[in-house]
């Protein structure tokens, strides 16, 4: 269906006929004018079908005037700049624009998925729940591949986004959302009172639908008034004017997100580096919602055919873009507003076959104007069906029948020839933002729709958004709201006055019956985007989905990207009629943010790549980098994972580093280790409260390993704490736990043991800290020239010294996480690199090698030392990992103690830490592999535990693992089975200490 000249010879106030614009739609070259939208330009080229529907793959065209568009979704741009699911009436045309239709395969006019339409009796409401559950194999091999290819809304862009995005923060006294008549009046009043005002509108220009509506302001066309106000606001110093900006969400305390499309319409600006989108986070003292109203479609048979659109959309095409929706149309309405569309069409020279009005009688100003223009009015009638050909691609006429509410069957059908329909079922105030943050709604029987009720935030709705459809009233309401939002805002004299003809009340029509049965090709669409029909909603009712929230989820009605903008009320109307209830009795589903989808880019803003997360580096970072270390993230730190040498892969370098520590000496950058100074007269007692074991008995100059639990009795951290003085301790935490544990200690001091005189000071970054580990460690230390005794007797295991290594001031702790003779040396961070280099030169003759975090982990696993977060997962007690001995029996109270006595933590059958040796020494179990009670052909198998750490140990030349296994400690020697994808690995339960059980290597 193409080739018809739909561009009118004249008219179209937004287009500039002197500026031709070239673009492509599905690869086909087309031209339009500056000021066109993708919708108007493609329609002007005679192309009516914009896409296929989600479920039935029915051809669909433009329905809406703007953001309510649910059918004509297009993908814009190519490759990394492709953006899917944009609403064609909102997309501004520019030269070189590339538009793609969506959801059609293989082509727009021939679509394999349309077969679904023929099969629609098998795809009823709730079909996702019914059909796809069974048989299971069908889902995997038939439905899912078919759906993934044939359906889905749009496709993701290919490649990395080349454009930039920004976040902005703003505060204002008054935020006006929507720059129609009421919004402009509110902004004018607020700015006149001196308020800081932000006014935004989702379209490129101000005025809302002033150009499409009846009535005058101060005796002149509404647009004249709009222009003077827009100028006034733009020039005012206290007003920030934003176009192409959609308020997408409203949250507590008047926090709003505005999505600004900065340069989608301006590819040259984009090329110059202008951000593509901005996300504004606005905090407003007052919000004035002037978001207008959206027109409702009418549910008649096959109301989704291309060529059937909302009456305002048809009017917009003619008045704004000089595009005819077709050659000859009918207007189908239940209200006066749509009469304006008939008049617009007539004025533009488009044939109007008639106005079909469901209301009886023609006694109104609107009807008089229509009659005077020579338009036939057919009162008391409704559309019973449409005639279409070519698989629904073309429209040739409508069947109409007398309308009487509640009438089941249609008699006395007659026919009108036409190729488009402009429909209007009334208007719904746009209350989405009102509801995002808990605003209540109230049903307005005049509108047959919901309008804003109560709200606990300082937000007020005005104009059509408030259900105030009369022009003069909307204007006055806008002024009043703007004044009220400013404390001392006094009503000013000389406010503009508007006039418009009174309108006849509308008559609700939620369902227009057809001649056939519901599903015999007569679909009455309610939610076009999700393909939900009136019959689906009624079926859900019959199946017992009484709550509207359940019906919504079961049928997916209102759940598409348009969030039910056009479908919500119509669905409620159908449900009300199906149940004999009123619409307020049916209830209403919740509107959620965003009002319209907004881009991922705008959410990310500039927080991408290097700016995504700050990286913390130790004082030795540059040295690691120079050695070509492989880095791994540990919290925000980057730690050296291993240092591969030329010709080595990671496994080889890790094994080399481990053996260097076991046989010679190794050097580790342990600066990331959490360090917290704890000082004060009550420091020792405080530590007794937070650790499971006793610290008040620790002697000055000694170190002790401590376990920390939360109040539930589960392990949260561990580490060595050193007593520096009577009232002074240095606590070491895990690298990732430093901040968390400091905050944890503070919380207890501030909120529970407030009588303790203790300071907690995180000092992690103040110190560079290195481990010198291995049989030659003492010799390296000696070479560095210590000014203190380092003999085995003079500096025993778990002792601490302060002094100098040559010229380097150090604190040095004889502690070991590798099982080797080991010293941890700490020096002020700014001196760290010098000490590091000194250790390397002193150790050169002993073959010292730097080792990374992976070697560190293998070394500790060989010794059976736990790592918080590997062996523990937030549900593991000290007893579970075999460290009951570190839980004090003497202390009356410490964090977690009472919970350990709860029955469920003392019951039999808990998982306990064990070692595992695989039958095949080369077989390294995957992390997290499950042990099962019995191996079966396929899952489910009963799981009895899981691998927590697993490595290849070059020291033992054997794979080793640690695991938490049900009753593990009483199963020593048992062989367990670990079913993997392709095989079953068997492993024997052992003690978790694989190497040097006696500890003879570190006690030398």
């Amino acid at each position: 269906m193409s080739g018809k000249p739909y561009r009118l010879a004249q008219g179209g106030r937004l287009i500039d006929r002197s500026k031709k614009v070239s673009f492509t739609f599905d690869g086909q070259s087309m031209t339009g004018f500056a000021g066109d939208t993708v919708a108007s330009a493609v329609l002007a080229n005679g192309q009516r079908v914009f896409g296929r529907s989600f479920k039935y793959h029915r051809p669909r065209g433009v329905v809406g005037l703007g953001s309510e568009e649910m059918n004509a979704l297009v993908g814009i741009g190519e490759g990394p700049r492709h953006e899917p699911n944009l609403r064609a009436p909102q997309v501004e045309l520019h030269d070189g624009l590339i538009a793609q239709s969506q959801n059609r395969w293989p082509s727009l006019n021939f679509d394999i998925g349309a077969l679904n339409s023929k099969l629609s009796r098998f795809i009823p409401g709730g079909f996702y729940y019914k059909t796809f559950m069974w048989p299971q194999a069908f889902w995997k091999h038939v439905y899912e591949p078919m759906i993934r290819r044939a359906a889905g809304l749009g496709k993701a862009p290919a490649g990395s986004d080349p454009d930039t995005y920004e976040h902005m923060h703003a505060h204002c006294d008054v935020l006006v959302i929507g720059a129609g008549i009421a919004g402009l009046a509110a902004a004018e009043a607020a700015q006149a009172a001196g308020a800081r005002v932000i006014i935004c509108d989702e379209t490129p220009r101000f005025g809302g639908v002033a150009d499409l509506s009846a009535g005058t302001i101060d005796g002149a066309p509404q647009l004249d008034w709009v222009h003077t106000r827009a100028k006034l606001l733009a020039e005012a110093g206290n007003v920030h004017v934003m176009t192409r900006t959609t308020a997408v969400g409203h949250w507590h305390h008047n926090h709003l997100m505005l999505f600004e499309r900065v340069s989608d319409h301006d590819p040259e600006g984009l090329a110059r580096g202008t951000p593509r989108h901005r996300l504004w986070k606005v905090r407003a003292k007052h919000v004035i919602l002037a978001t207008g109203a959206l027109e409702r479609p009418i549910a008649f048979a096959n109301n989704d055919r291309p060529g059937i659109m909302l009456a305002t959309a048809a009017r917009g095409l003619v008045e704004r873009h000089g595009v005819a929706p077709g050659m000859k149309g009918v207007v189908f309405t239940n209200n006066d507003d749509a009469y304006l569309t008939a008049l617009s069409l007539k004025r533009a020279g488009v044939a109007v076959a008639g106005i079909i009005d469901v209301r009886q009688g023609t006694d109104s100003a609107a009807a008089r104007d229509a009659r005077n223009a020579g338009i036939e009015i057919i009162p008391g009638h409704a559309i019973a069906g449409v005639e279409s050909g070519y698989g629904g691609l073309s429209l040739s006429g409508v069947k109409i029948a007398p309308w009487r509410k509640g009438q089941g069957r249609v008699v006395n059908e007659s026919r009108l020839a036409c190729d488009f329909i402009a429909m209007s079922g009334g208007f719904n105030p746009v209350v989405n933002l009102w509801c995002h943050n808990g605003g209540k709604l109230t049903f307005d029987s005049g509108l047959q729709s919901y309008r804003p009720g109560k709200h606990h935030d300082r937000i007020q709705a005005v104009g059509a958004a408030n259900g105030t459809m009369d022009l003069a009233a909307a204007l006055a309401e806008g002024y009043a709201a703007g004044e009220a939002a400013v404390k001392d805002g006094e009503p000013k004299a000389g406010r503009s006055k508007a006039e418009s003809a009174p309108q006849r009340p509308l008559e609700p029509i939620w369902f227009s019956p057809a001649t056939g049965k519901y599903n015999e090709g007569n679909k009455h669409f309610i939610d076009f985007q999700n393909d939900v029909t009136a019959a689906d909603l009624e079926l859900a009712q019959r199946e017992g989905y009484e709550s509207v929230e359940h019906t919504k989820r079961y049928t997916t009605f209102g759940m598409a990207t348009d969030q039910g903008k056009t479908s919500n009320l119509n669905g409620l109307g159908v449900l009300a009629e199906a149940t004999g209830k009123t619409i307020p009795e049916i209830g209403i589903t919740t509107f959620r943010p965003p009002y319209t989808p907004f881009s991922f880019g705008s959410i990310a803003g500039s927080l991408t790549k290097n700016l995504f997360l700050p990286v913390r580096r130790t004082p030795i970072f540059r040295w690691h980098k120079a050695q070509n270390a492989v880095f791994e993230p540990v919290g925000q730190w980057r730690r050296a994972y291993t240092y591969p040498r030329a010709g080595e892969d990671k496994h080889q370098s890790i094994n080399r580093e481990i053996l260097a520590v076991r046989n010679k000496v190794g050097l580790l950058d342990a600066s990331t280790l959490g360090k917290i100074e704890i000082k004060g007269p009550d420091a020792a007692e405080f530590l007794d409260r937070v650790y499971t074991n006793m610290f008040s008995t620790l002697k000055v100059g000694r170190c002790r390993y401590g376990l920390m639990m939360n109040e539930l009795g589960f392990l949260i951290d561990d580490g060595v704490t050193v007593r520096l003085g009577d009232d002074h301790f240095l606590m070491h935490t895990t690298s990732g736990g430093a901040d968390r544990i400091a905050a944890w200690l503070e919380e207890w001091l501030q909120t529970e043991w407030t009588q303790y005189k203790v300071f907690v000071t995180p000092v992690t970054e103040q110190w560079a800290q290195f481990a010198i580990a291995g049989p030659k460690a003492r010799e390296v230390l000696s070479k560095l020239g210590p000014d203190f005794d380092i003999s085995a007797e003079g500096f025993a295991h778990m002792a601490m010294k302060q002094g100098k290594l040559g010229s380097h001031p150090v604190r040095i702790y004889r502690i070991s996480f590798s099982g080797e003779l080991s010293y941890e040396v700490a020096t002020p961070a700014n001196l760290g690199r010098g000490l590091w280099d000194a250790i390397l030169s002193a150790g050169a003759e002993f073959g010292i090698e730097a080792y990374g975090t992976e070697a560190l982990h293998v070394l500790r696993a060989e010794k059976g030392y736990i790592v918080i977060g590997d062996e523990t997962d937030g549900t593991v007690t000290p007893g579970d990992v075999g460290l009951d001995g570190l839980v004090s029996k003497k202390k009356a109270d410490f964090i977690g103690k009472r919970s350990l006595e709860q029955s469920f933590l003392r019951s039999a059958g808990r998982k306990q830490l064990v070692g595992l040796l695989t039958e095949d020494p080369k077989d390294v179990l995957p992390d997290g592999a499950y042990a099962v009670r019995a191996v079966k052909d396929k899952p489910p198998m009963e799981m009895i535990g899981q691998v927590t750490s697993t490595y290849y140990s070059p020291t033992l030349d054997h794979s080793i693992a640690m695991a938490l296994i049900e009753n593990g400690r009483s199963r020593m020697g048992e062989t367990l089975s670990f079913p993997l994808d392709d095989k079953v690995v068997k492993a024997k339960i052992t003690d978790p200490v694989f190497y040097d059980k006696e500890g003879s290597r570190q006690n030398v």
Binding site: R283, D457, E711, E752, T754, K897, R898, S899
Partner: protein, 123 residues
Amino acid sequence: MLIVHCPVCGAEGDETDFHYGGEAHIRRPATQDPTTVSDAAQRDYLFMRRNPKGLHFERWRCDRGCGKWFHAVRDTVTMDFKATYGITELPPRELMEAASGEWAAFFKDKLDAAKPSRKGKSS
């Protein structure tokens, strides 16, 4: 997103600048007397929380400011903060009186005992 006000340092900011610390005025039984904490008392301390519609008494920490913990009274319907007060203090008397349900029961004996002069600071 809520706007939170710190009564200690005076900072005002988005709730992401603060840390929500759950319900206020929970007593840790083992601190009082570690030898006689029943299973039920420990369970209540660990897990039982109020979920009122209306006034709620809760803990917040001034994360990006002074780092101090404080108490706040918030209406869970309107999201309005009615007052903030010190972490060791009781709420302003009029808010204890305005509390409903389980909170009203909790504050009853405190109201009986508290002298009006011990009021917390209202903001």
